[in-house]
Symmetry: C2
Subunit: 501 residues, 2 copies
Amino acid sequence: MPEPKNARQIQSPRGTRDLYPAEAARRRWLLDRWREVSVRHGFEEVDGPTFEESELYAVKSGEGILGELFQAFSGKSPDEVEQVKQTGRAPFALRPEFTPTLARMYAAKAAGLPKPCKWFMAGPFFRAERPQRGRLREFLQWNADVIGLDVPQEKWNAEDAESRAEVAEAKARMDAEVIACCVESLRVMGLDPQAVQIRINSRESMRSILDRLFVSGPAQERAFSVIDRYRKIDEREFEREMIELGADPNAIDALRSLLDSPTQIEGELDAFLVPARYGELGNALIGMKFEPSETALFRTLGEYGITDWCHWDCSIVRGLAYYTGTVFEVIAEGERAVAGGGRYDNLIELFGGPPTPAVGFAMGDVVLSLLLQDKGLMPSDDELMGLVGQHPEVFVLSNGTPEADAALRPLVARLRRGAEPSELKTQDSRLKTPLHVRHSYKATKNVGKLLKEAAQSHARFAVIIEDGSSCSVKDLRENQQWEGRVELADIHTRLCEALRA
Amino acid sequence: MPEPKNARQIQSPRGTRDLYPAEAARRRWLLDRWREVSVRHGFEEVDGPTFEESELYAVKSGEGILGELFQAFSGKSPDEVEQVKQTGRAPFALRPEFTPTLARMYAAKAAGLPKPCKWFMAGPFFRAERPQRGRLREFLQWNADVIGLDVPQEKWNAEDAESRAEVAEAKARMDAEVIACCVESLRVMGLDPQAVQIRINSRESMRSILDRLFVSGPAQERAFSVIDRYRKIDEREFEREMIELGADPNAIDALRSLLDSPTQIEGELDAFLVPARYGELGNALIGMKFEPSETALFRTLGEYGITDWCHWDCSIVRGLAYYTGTVFEVIAEGERAVAGGGRYDNLIELFGGPPTPAVGFAMGDVVLSLLLQDKGLMPSDDELMGLVGQHPEVFVLSNGTPEADAALRPLVARLRRGAEPSELKTQDSRLKTPLHVRHSYKATKNVGKLLKEAAQSHARFAVIIEDGSSCSVKDLRENQQWEGRVELADIHTRLCEALRA
């Protein structure tokens, strides 16, 4: 065990953050944007525990995942301490993502939940990665998911052609809903289709492509993993790995051209995934059509008016094994991934629920914040403090006389409290709302200095108590003194009127 | 290692919570109340990591504390896994309280921070306790603290009588600020002085009392621990333990009378802690006066108009060793502690900062929620969903014609999006704000059924698309149809006007 540290040496754990007021305001602003966008798109907030049983993650990703996580145990439980000493593995893990929790929660109450069920959450997540630019060990993540479909449940897994077509349309609608919500979050933060692109693909289309390349069966899953690394590995390695998986060596160039050619999804997207004009792609792929679920998705994205953000990009397959259909990533300049998601139709069942198609995405705060800063879209610290309500509405000061000094705290308390319950019956309660009030902590009685402090606090109004019963008011935003004095008994109502105007 | 579980058996860890929409709304409502009260009292939000180095907690509370915590380690770090296997102790711990993080953060930037510095935070905390009514292993806690004083820093620890008097007054002001903020949070949730009491004491006064009882030096710290358990242990054990610590056996009855006699703090509280009228208390204590810092606190609480909530109760000493002056608890019927706090003037220095007086409190969500439920003050699930903004402003439906069906998604998207950037220059942007919009996922084309669904969603307005270019509107709150039809091009503005009225 390492030597005990001197208190002065203890810092926040590497890869975590101390949020002083400006940083906390930035987090609050981001969380509020995510939440506001989710709510107005009809998603309802949920959340789960910060830590889960380790096995919850192993169910989805295998035991190996535990080596990527922060593991946890109760120091009070002799059994758990003993387990950890013997195995080096703990019974709990800090959540690295939300989907397993969501699947567990949905599975536990599936019968009583609406169909579809639209859930979002935003909160802290944890990964045992080496911290670097864009990656922290504790970070925020926003999740929005649509679980189930808007067609009767008995059709969700029916095999007849009519049901399958209906379900493909329904999946496209749900996919488009989560993509539209994701796009809107980018838009409200000031981003545009030049700054970020939604790169969309479908694992179903990719399976058709791989079939044509003679990569089939379980090799397709491994091919997804190779394609997911396409831009990170060199050409020869890509070629070698694909051929090992059975790919026709003559078609690798065709595949590579396709992977290199994201195409904007326009209102009337060509039905051909690989149209004849891509003559150089080789016969293996020419003339392939998009899957019906994919053309339906493109059409619905058109109805939502967001095709200018959206590109078809078959290099997007997502690393995780559980995606089944649509997959997408939000990519900014420099190929930075801001968000990612897709359809995971088998996962709810894996967690003990009924077979339930589902789609969702996750967006982290770290890459997004770097992007907003790079683009000059992150509000300044001062602006952020104002945006999250931390600029006072009123700054109260005394003119320095003993009567005014004595009136200060009672007035501050009264303005902060708003109407007393006894006043609520007879008064317009909106004229006695609680106000955000501050006062100076400095010893000075110099009114000029105190007014300067009021202005620095970004208060809207300065109230100068002139004696035990009256005050004068300065509107600091308009830099204007109110005419005459206001009785202390009336000041609350007058301020509320002015703030509501 | 236990057998791997079937996915169906995995539940949330014991003592943690799954928050489905109604529970998540309850959490949001509570967090919003805490936050809103903190902000209007001039506190600024901060936060730290969810886990800290274990030693951070050992600095304050000794190594023994680790047995009460959830401990954590990186599954990716061979060193950390090895440490855990060898020692059964992990390098990190899930935070059980905020004060050590706050002290560490303040100490790291003390020179550049305002004096006093008013910080709040609310978030998840963790304890390895056995779950029971009122106690969970993951819970929410609100913290509000005032660090530093409103007198010049060189006086904070000066020894001359004048500075000491000035500092005592300043501490009383800061103590009263955090107590006023705490009281206001109880008031906004509908509680009143009949339902909860702020029980206040001072460790300084208790030291004077213990001096008179011949309990002195280090025995006083142990006496605090005995008094903290006064209501949990039996009379004889209390007497035995106090006498062991040196207490005059003849004065135990006097002490017990004092511990049993909380007194409301009135505007003009008697300066005598033990006035002559408590004749039965024995000579040892009669005539004792309150410490100047305590009378100053009572006076300031009067200025804030909250003495009706406040009681002097010398049985409140708080278990934790680090409190130095004022201590207080919020006690509801059945002696349930809703919140607790006090002055901890030595802690910032212990964490490597300059000597800095500080005071704060923490309120958890579990006991508070039970109390609000018992009192009928917790809003219903439906009310909560409305209070946190999860009732839609608009529910859009089609009259079932193909043109209306085709217009639905584009209209929903447009209303959710608000004004386009191009519109913002020429339009009053308040008339094109983004709206919270929902629509049906049911297959029915029966307008009556769809209107019923709209009402069940608690939407304010139902918009019925009548053809490709117009709609009718029903105000569901007033149960009134708007006259005539509205062009789809105008509906956004009309809805915004109506919602703002």
